[in-house]
Subunit: 195 residues, 2 copies
DNA sequence: AGCGTAAATTGACCGTGGTCATTTATTAGG
DNA sequence: CCTAATAAATGACCACGGTCAATTTACGCT
């Protein structure tokens, strides 16, 4: 088993992904059709499904890599030390996730890995988020946030409130308030409780 | 415009919904096929789509009415006065929402009303949830929960954390911890911060 | 080089959600 | 009652994701 995977396979897969990226640039994630992908990649329909379990798996790959890239940049910044700074740090990620209702739904669907082995790129990015956020609340660090619960729990709360704020953003009734404002209210209560 | 809607219409719609309910009992929400619905209701395919915008709208109706019923029972109980009691009060709702990944996804998709006029039954149930939860934290009431933020905000937090706990439940990696336990940790930190 | 085997690819085919021009039923007006 | 106008129902049809038996290609071995 020195060469279990052929060069050809890698090339075909790369073609498919590249074709898909081009299509997304044209018509967005929502307008992506598998038939168009295989046409541009010059392969048969069946080949697509030999490489991806389903269309969602391709979407996850494309969206996931955008999320991971965004998180890498986020991780490089110095930790925020006020709630507005936390919100500001989150905004690029939120912008990505809420670029459309369709994208948001894909992300939510894949945010938890359904299978233990090989978590997809979106689930990965949520793991990474968790790690990045948790670092902001290092008990040794110099920040004003609550210290009665572990940093990991604060990180989970941020994920929960961010999802909530984004979900409400797509809700016509509640869209009078901006995501930033809503999130600021949530995080003030979560990170700086005065009991 | 004394009679804008005919009797026939109501009957047809009722037939469709009844047929759908029967199918769900047989094969669950996930196994529901529009073709089977119209067959059992003895109408044409097109008629279905004259009554429901799409299949999702029917699913929303069916799942939404179950949620609303559950909330009605929840509203009748005396308010919980400890975090474990809060979790226990939430469990019937959580059980409904997590009966399957498919149902959970439908609910999340519809939890925010996309259009102002006529919010669907699932979005309605989220509004009702909000109201029911908020009542638990009445500033005049005798409860040990934090009072530094308005009850409505505490209610929103419960929604956010409940969704988070449920989403993680479907995630293989995290399913070692039960929803109750996870939610208890979240709500202790949210409702009883010791700063 | 030639051969056998396993991996990769193919494309006709299917299931199912959703559409729409046409047909049928209902109602209001004379 | 008949007729015109409107609402409802019909079903052939389409779009698109996904399948799979058959075919082609690549690779290790002698």
């Amino acid at each position: 088993m020195n060469k279990p995977v052929q060069q050809r396979t890698l090339k075909t897969r790369a073609n498919l992904v590249e074709a898909a990226r081009a299509i997304v640039l044209d018509v967005g994630y929502e307008g992506l059709r598998t038939e168009e992908v295989v046409k541009r990649a010059s392969v048969a329909k069946g080949t697509f499904f030999a490489h991806f379990a389903d269309k969602d798996a391709l979407l996850e790959l494309l969206i996931g890599e955008a999320l991971l890239e965004c998180l890498d940049q986020m991780a490089e910044r110095p930790a925020p030390v006020t709630v507005p700074e936390v919100v500001e740090h989150l905004m690029p990620l939120i912008g990505l996730m809420t670029q459309s209702r369709f994208v948001f739904d894909v992300i939510v669907r894949h945010s938890g890995a359904a299978v233990v082995e090989s978590l997809g790129p979106i689930a990965q990015s949520f793991d990474l988020q968790y790690a990045v956020f948790a670092k902001w609340f290092d008990p040794e660090g110099d920040h004003p946030f609550r210290r009665d619960v572990p940093p990991e729990l604060l990180a989970e709360g941020i994920q929960a409130f961010a999802i909530q704020a984004m979900a409400l953003m797509f809700c016509a009734i509640n869209s009078v308030t901006s995501v930033e404002d809503r999130l600021t209210v949530y995080l003030n209560a979560w990170l700086l409780p005065s009991k």
